[in-house]
Amino acid sequence: MALAIGCRARPGKARDNRTGSWRVFRPIYDDAKCSRCGMCRTICPEGCITEDAEGRFVPDYAYCKGCGLCAAECPKDAIEMKQEEK
């Protein structure tokens, strides 16, 4: 890559850093327990949880760091943090 004179750079986004590889624990949703309240999406510091067409909340594992806040805050205890295989 050639140097950009003036140390200039194009705007970048945090999304360029796929932080999912740092994860030690993976959030696993129990669909039967989930009340669709959306607390997990609100609380997620990565903003990586979205609602799908059926109203389920789905984390994007490419970005989820496995912090476990969603599981800690879930009023229905519908999220389990499972250790990743590394």
Partner: protein, 180 residues
Amino acid sequence: MKELRIHGRGGQGSVTAAELIAVAAFEGGVFAQAFPAFGVERRGAPVQAFVRFNDKKIRLRSQIYEPDYIIVQDSTLIKDVNVFFGVKKGGIVIVNTEKAANYEVPEGVRLITIDATSIALKAIGLPITNTSLMGAFAAATGEIAFSALENALNHRFPKELAAKNIEAARLAYNAVKGAA
């Protein structure tokens, strides 16, 4: 002079591991030098930390390119970073993984895998793997005595936390000794 390179991610305690290994080595009567190579300062970014061991004063300040020992704190780094780069023949590589030892290390290099994450979860309750890997390092290389590591941990952390970390280090130490 022997050299160790530690690969980890920001926040995993690679720099602390280097520090404590050097402190333990110094207690054992050798000169030691520990230093980090920071990339960008954020959690999760790949970082390296280095330790040198020598029987006389260490003057060399460059980073470590041909280590005798390598510790890999996070096996997911292996696909992003050439963690085994430059390791000397007869060297030892310690990888934190729960999988079987199927990484391709250079010829003549001993590969030791250890599930430091599970050990840390069991002993400390957190996936902080550096102290387990220090125990594994002590067992695999003999560069530091376990008692010196214990002293270094006791000195560095409050009593209760130190006890948990020593337990993690001991479990890893015994696991590596047992496998040998």
